[in-house]
Amino acid sequence: MKTIQNIGITLFIIGLAIFTALPFLGTFKLNQTTFDELITSQGIKSEVFIQDLKNTFVDKEFTGIQALAPIVKGVIDNANEVHDKNKEWGKKVYAGSGDMATAIRKASAYGFIPENKGLLWLLTFGLGIIGSLMFIIPQVVTLGKKGIKNDHIYHQSSTNRGWIAWLVFIFLVSFYLVLYFKAEYAVNWTFLVDPISESLSGNPAGQWFVYGFMYCVVMTVMAIRMYIKYRHNVYQMVRTTSVLFFQIVFAFLIPEIMVRLQLSYSKGYDFKNAFPLDYDFFFSWNLKELIASGGLGMFILVWGIVLTLVIVPVMVYFFGKRWYCSWVCGCGGLAETLGDPYRQHSSKSLFSWKIERWLIHGVLVFAVVMTGFTLYGFFAETGTVLGIKVQSIMNTYSFLIGAIFAGVIGTGFYPIFGNRVWCRFGCPLAAYLGFVQRFKSRFRITTNGGQCISCGNCSTYCEQGIDVRAYAQKGENIVRSSCVGCGICSAVCPRGVLKLENGPEEGRINPTEILLGNDVDLMTLVNKK
C-alpha cells in the first residue's frame, strides 16, 4: 500500500512539474496570414500600430519565457502617442497589452506543445489524476476502520503549516497570479485542453476554460478523498456529491453547452451563481447583453433577480445558508474538497471574528453601492455618477475583490489560513445569507444538553473559525451568521453533542447558565433570571 502511495506521489509530482514548466517552454512564430486575422478580429484601425507590431513579431521567433505583453504595450503606447499628437481619436488602440499578447501566443505557437496536445494532457492532467488517485484510494485500507480520521494532522508538514504547506501556498498563489494577471503564460496550458473545449463549446480553450476544467478535476479527485475519509458519515457523502454535481453541471457544462448551441446569450451563464457573488450581473454591459438577447436573456435577467431576492433567502429560512455555501456554491465546493485538509487553520480568536465582521460586511456594502452606481449609470445612461467614473469603481472591485480576494487570497492561502478565507472574510453573498440565517431561519446546530467535555475538536475543525465549543460547553445552540453547515463539528465530536437541524424558530437561541444534568430547581432558578 505504501509503495502504491509513493508511486502515486511521484507520478503526481512529475505531472505537476511538467504543468509548472509549460508556461516557460514552447516556441512562437507569427506568420503574415495569422497576423492579419488577428488584427481584423481585434478591430484595430491604427496603421502605425499594425506596422510596428508587424515589424516586431511577424516571422520572428519567440520563446515561452519571453514576456510579450511589455513589447505589445510599447507598440500600443507608441501608436497612441502618434494618434494623440495628430488628434486621430478614432485610430487609438484600446486593446489591452496582456490580452493582445495572449492572443498572439495562442495564434502563433508551433512545435511540440500544440502538436502533441493529447500526450501533454496525459503527462500533466493524466499523471496528476492517476498519481493522486494512487495516493488516495489505498486510504480505504491505510486509514483503517471507518470513523474520524484526523490522526497526525498536526504532525505533518503538509497540514501543519510546514514547508510542504508553504510550497503549496506559493504554487497556488503563483497559479492565480498567472491566471488573472499574466494570462499569456497560461497559453501553453490552454493547448492541453483545446480538444476538450472544442468538443464541448466548439471553441479553442482560453485560460478560463483551463481553470474551469482544472477546478472540476481537482474537485472530483478530492471528492473521492472525502468519500473515503468520511465514509461513515452519510451527511458528508451526500453533501460532497451535491457540490460536485453543481460544479460540473451548472458551473462547467451548461455554460459551455450554451455557447455550443450558439444561443442568443453568447457567453454562457452559471444558473446557480447568485448576485452579489456574481458581482458583474448588474454591470451595464451585461444588462445590455441580456436585454439584447431576447427571450433567453430576459429569462436569465428575471432568474438572476428572483434567485437573489426570493430563492436564496427562502431556502436559507428553511435550511440555513448551508444549502448554498456547502451544497451548491463553487467556491464552497472547492473549499470542501481541495480545502478539507486545511480546515483546521482558520483562526478562532475573538479578534479574527471582529475583523471578519468588518471585512465581510464591508465587501457587501461595496458590492451593493457599486451595483447602485452601475444601475443608476445604466438607467441614466451616464458613465459618471456623483462625479465618480462608474467604470473605475467596477475595475477596482474586479481587481481587489474579484481577483485578489476571491482568487489569490481565497484559494492561494488555503494551506496557511484555512479553506474558507474568502467565504468567511470576503464573500458578499455569504454576508447576505448570514443576515438571513442569523435573524430569520429554522437552522441551528443543537447542543445536546450537558454532554460537552470542552475538548475543542469542534472549534479546531470549524473552517469558518467559529468557536463552536464556546457555545457547546455552555449548553447553547450555535446560531451564527457565518456557519456554512458543513457538519464537520458534529462529525468530529467524540461525545455526540452537536447536530445540524432545521426546527421551529422558537427556542432556537437558548441561553443557559446552568447546564442540563444539574439540580432541576437550580436550573430553573438561574436560567429564568
Binding site: N150, H152, H155, Y235, Q451, I453, S490, G503
Partner: protein, 448 residues
C-alpha cells in the same frame, strides 16, 4: 473585598470561578501547579494523536482571565493553615483567603506493584503525563511495545493513542470482559471485539504482578499473574484514579479517600469547600458513588458552589445521571441508570438490541414490576439528552420509550435510523404491538 481562592484550575475550579464572577465582584484567585491556563483534560489524547495542538484544548483565550478579573497563580500549595486562613506555596510565598475551594482533582492509582516507579512507567492524567508519554513513546522505534494495566476509560484511550503511532499494545484487564463492572455483558462483549479489531493484544482476566527493570532502572518487561513475561518499554498505569489530596494530610480538614464534604460541599472547616474529583460525599447521593471523578459532576459542583459562595446557599443536587465516552470509533452515551450484571439489583431488567453487522447497540433498563424506564446505554447511536432527562423525570415506562424512541434520536441528518428494528425486536420479546411514532418537533421542544 472578599478573597476567594481556588486550588486547581480544572473544570470544577474554573466553573466555580466563572460563576462566582457572574454573580459577584469578589476577588478570585486560581492556583495551579499543572498549567498556566485551564485546559480540557479529556482532550489530552487528541494532542498526542495529532488531532489538535495543546493550545486547542484551552477553552478560553488567554486574555479571558484578566478581563474577568480572575487572577491565575502558578504554584504548588504545600500547606493549608486554616486558623490563619493562609496557604503556603512551595516557592515560599503565602496567599491569604477568605473562602477556600479545594478542586485539586485526581491522580492515577498505584497499587504498590513492584517496579511501579521505574522509568517508562506512567499514568495518563496530567499535562505532564502527556509530555512524558511523548518522550517515552514518540514512535514504535523508541517504544517497541507498551503494556497498559487497567481496563477503564483512560486505559482504552491510552491504547488508542499509542496505536496511532503503530506501537504494539498489550492491554491487561482485571475483569473477565472489558469494563463489565459498568457495562452490561452484551456491550462489554462488543467493546472486547472492537479492541481486538484495532490489533490490540487484549488480555482479559489478567493482573499485573511485577514490572521488571533493566540495568538503567527502566522498565523492560512485566510479569502477569498468569506467569507470562511481556517485554515492553512503556507501562501505562490506568487502573483508576484517586483524589489528589496529599498536601492536606495534616491540615485538620477531614479526609477519607477524598476531602469529606456535606451536601453543601462544605468541609468540616468553615469557609473551606471541596468540589470535583477530590470531593467525597459523606453519604452517596442516590445511586451515585461518594467520589465522582467525572467531568460533568465536577462542572455541576462548580455551578452549585458558586451559588453558595454568593449568598444563595444551595445543596449539591445532581439531576438524572448521564455520561459519555468513546471507545476507539464507537461513541457511548448513557442516560439514567443501567447497571451491569455484576452490580444490578434483581428488580432491574434489561432489553438489549445489537445491529447484526455494525458496532451499534443499545441497552434499556426497566423495573421488573412497574416497567418504569430506568436508563439507557447507547453505542453508535447518538441520543437527545433533554428527551431522556424529561422521560426520567416523568417516570415514563419502557413501552412509552419504545413508542417515542424516534424523538430521542440525535444522529446527524441522513443517517440510517434503527428505531423500527429495535421496536420489532422489543415487540417480539414482550409480545407487544408497539408502533414507533414519527419524530415530532412539537414533542421534542415542548417544555413538559
Amino acid at each position: 473585598m472578599e478573597h476567594i481562592v481556588i486550588i486547581g484550575n480544572g473544570i470544577a475550579g474554573v466553573t466555580a470561578a466563572r460563576h462566582i464572577r457572574k454573580l459577584s465582584d469578589k476577588k478570585i484567585t486560581i492556583i495551579s501547579a499543572e498549567s498556566d491556563y485551564f485546559f480540557s483534560r479529556t482532550a489530552l489524547m487528541y494532542v498526542y494523536m495529532g488531532h489538535m495542538k495543546f493550545e486547542h484544548t484551552q477553552p478560553y483565550e488567554n486574555w479571558f482571565w484578566k478581563k474577568n478579573r480572575i487572577d491565575l497563580v502558578k504554584g504548588f500549595v504545600e500547606k493549608v493553615a486554616h486558623e490563619q486562613k493562609k496557604l503556603f506555596l512551595k516557592d515560599g510565598t503565602t496567599i491569604t483567603y477568605d473562602q477556600l475551594i479545594i478542586a485539586t482533582g485526581s491522580k492515577p492509582n498505584k497499587f504498590g506493584w513492584p517496579g511501579q516507579d521505574l522509568k517508562g512507567v506512567q499514568g495518563l492524567y496530567h499535562k505532564q503525563d502527556l509530555e512524558l508519554l511523548e518522550k517515552n513513546a514518540p514512535n514504535n522505534k523508541v517504544c517497541k511495545r507498551a503494556v497498559i494495566v487497567g481496563g477503564g476509560l483512560i486505559g482504552i484511550e491510552m491504547a488508542e493513542m499509542l496505536r496511532t503511532r503503530e506501537i504494539p499494545v498489550t492491554f491487561l484487564v482485571r475483569e473477565k470482559s472489558f469494563w463489565n463492572g459498568v457495562l452490561p455483558s452484551g456491550e462489554s462483549e462488543m467493546i472486547n471485539e472492537h479492541i481486538l479489531d484495532h490489533h490490540i493484544d487484549l488480555r482479559l482476566d489478567t493482573n499485573l504482578e511485577e514490572i521488571i527493570a533493566d540495568e538503567n532502572g527502566h522498565a523492560k518487561a512485566i510479569r502477569t499473574d498468569k506467569g507470562d513475561i511481556i517485554e515492553c518499554t512503556v507501562v501505562g498505569l490506568t487502573a483508576g484514579v484517586t483524589p489528589n489530596i496529599n498536601f492536606l494530610k495534616d491540615s485538620g480538614i477531614e479526609l477519607g479517600r477524598g476531602v469529606k464534604v456535606n451536601r453543601f460541599l462544605e468541609t468540616n472547616i468553615p469557609n473551606i469547600y471541596a468540589i470535583g474529583d477530590c470531593a467525597e460525599q459523606h453519604e452517596a447521593i442516590g445511586n451515585r458513588r461518594p467520589i465522582e471523578a467525572v467531568w460533568y459532576t465536577g462542572r455541576m459542583m462548580g455551578e452549585t458552589l458558586a451559588q453558595t459562595i454568593c449568598n444563595n446557599k444551595t445543596e449539591y443536587n445532581p439531576g438524572h445521571w448521564f455520561n459519555s465516552a468513546k471507545f476507539f470509533d464507537i461513541e457511548y452515551q448513557t442516560y439514567g441508570w443501567v447497571f451491569s450484571e455484576r452490580s444490578k439489583k434483581e428488580t432491574e431488567l434489561h432489553f438489549h438490541w445489537r445491529h447484526s453487522k455494525e458496532n451499534i447497540c443499545i441497552t434499556i433498563a426497566y423495573d421488573a414490576a412497574t416497567k418504569e424506564f430506568l436508563g439507557i446505554n447507547t453505542f453508535g447511536i447518538r441520543m437527545r439528552h433533554e428527551i431522556f432527562d424529561r422521560w426520567l423525570t416523568a417516570k415514563k415506562d419502557v413501552f412509552y420509550v419504545m413508542e417515542y424512541l424516534k424523538d430521542a434520536n440525535f444522529d446527524p441528518e441522513f443517517y440510517k435510523s434503527y428505531e423500527n428494528e429495535i421496536v420489532v425486536k422489543f415487540n417480539s420479546e414482550f409480545g407487544t404491538q408497539i408502533q414507533p411514532r414519527k419524530k415530532s418537533w412539537k414533542r421534542i421542544f415542548s417544555k413538559a
